[in-house]
Amino acid sequence: MSDLIKIFISAVLIENVVLIRFLALCPFIGMSSDVKKSTGMSGAVLFVTVLATAVTWPLYVYVLAPLDLKFLQILTFILVIASLVQLVEFYLKKTAPALYSSMGVYLALITTNCAILAVTFDVIAKGYTFVESLVYAVGVATGFALSLLLLAGIREKLKIAPIPSFLRGTPIMFIAAALLSMAFGGFAGLIK
């Protein structure tokens, strides 16, 4: 049990997916303009990351590895994730239109969210068991949500802050992200 908590904490704070590992920067920059958008995106990422890990892990361990097809890992994983996202989109559209209208737009963008593919590769590279992989996936998605909401909050403050003119717009967002990233750097060493 303590192992699982360790994996979770380390995925959320120490190895924060956006601020420390630089994954999923496109939605981090594009989706953080207001809190509502970032909540929607975070929900969609959490859902798809866990689902993708739950499908790709058994696929790799029980199909690709025994058949010696490890070189097909990139190809199969990206196809699985892309078709999974499509399926989820169709399913939600049909059964839960309300949820779809709040999450649907983000789902389409998720195929090219590199955090998800990275998680599925990470759990294989780190040799996690199935349960550990799922906990890791939830942790990474939570870390993504945390950093996205933090930046969204900062951006709302930035709108009324006096900023040197040459930094206005995108540059100041990266400077803000740098400061956030320094703060998260302080978590290193939280787990021995």
């Binding site: 601020l19 420390i20 590992r21 630089f22 994954l23 999923a24 920067l25 496109c26 920059i29 594009g30 070189f71 097909l72 890992q73 990139i74 190809l75 990206i78 196809l79 892309a82 078709s83 195929t111 090219t112 969210n113 590199c114 593919l117 990275a118 590769f121 990470d122 590279a125 040459f166 930094l167 717009g169 995108t170 540059p171 100041i172 967002m173 990266f174 400077i175 992200a177 740098a178 400061l179 990233s181 320094m182 998260f184 750097g185």
Partner: protein
Amino acid sequence: MKKYLSYFTNGILRENPLLMLMIGLCSALAVTTSLANGIGMGIAMTFVLLMSEIIISAFRSLIPQSIRIPVFIIVIAAFTTIVDLVMKAFTPELSKAMGVFIPLIVVNCIIMGRVESFSYKRTITESIADALGMGLGYTWVLCSISFIRELLGAGTILGMEVLPESIRMGFFAQSPGGFFVFGLMIAVALAAKKALERKGGSR
């Protein structure tokens, strides 16, 4: 000839994928802790972009509109696999330093974006000019970021020591430095673009 030249120069500053369009950022910030990594990633990315654009452009009349995205993904994934395996075999150290970011070329929005918006509609030669321009635009930004970060963070250029240890700043070698240097680079690029526009009228 002039047309090809304008496609080629397009990616270098005016539509630079990293500085202007802000796509494909993940790999650009993550691997740029040393100049060698930056060059390696730039070459890997340019290769995948070039080959994918050539293939998609060559088969563009055979790919049905409705399933084009899956087809693009398979083509890009195939070339990414080639790069991944070649790098593992010939430059194992570089491949280890970049880790998961080589497989992640497959979800790099630059490639998907160029294939979808450019080479699916254009001829092979036009696509080659575009891919080389975009690849070069990506590579030079990567090289500049990694040059600054390696010089200030580790005090070296391509592994050679230049700065004495007392004035090195570890900040630049770590994650915050990546965001910081990139933020400043965008500020400089935007200022340069504005200056160019003022000078060249409608350009």
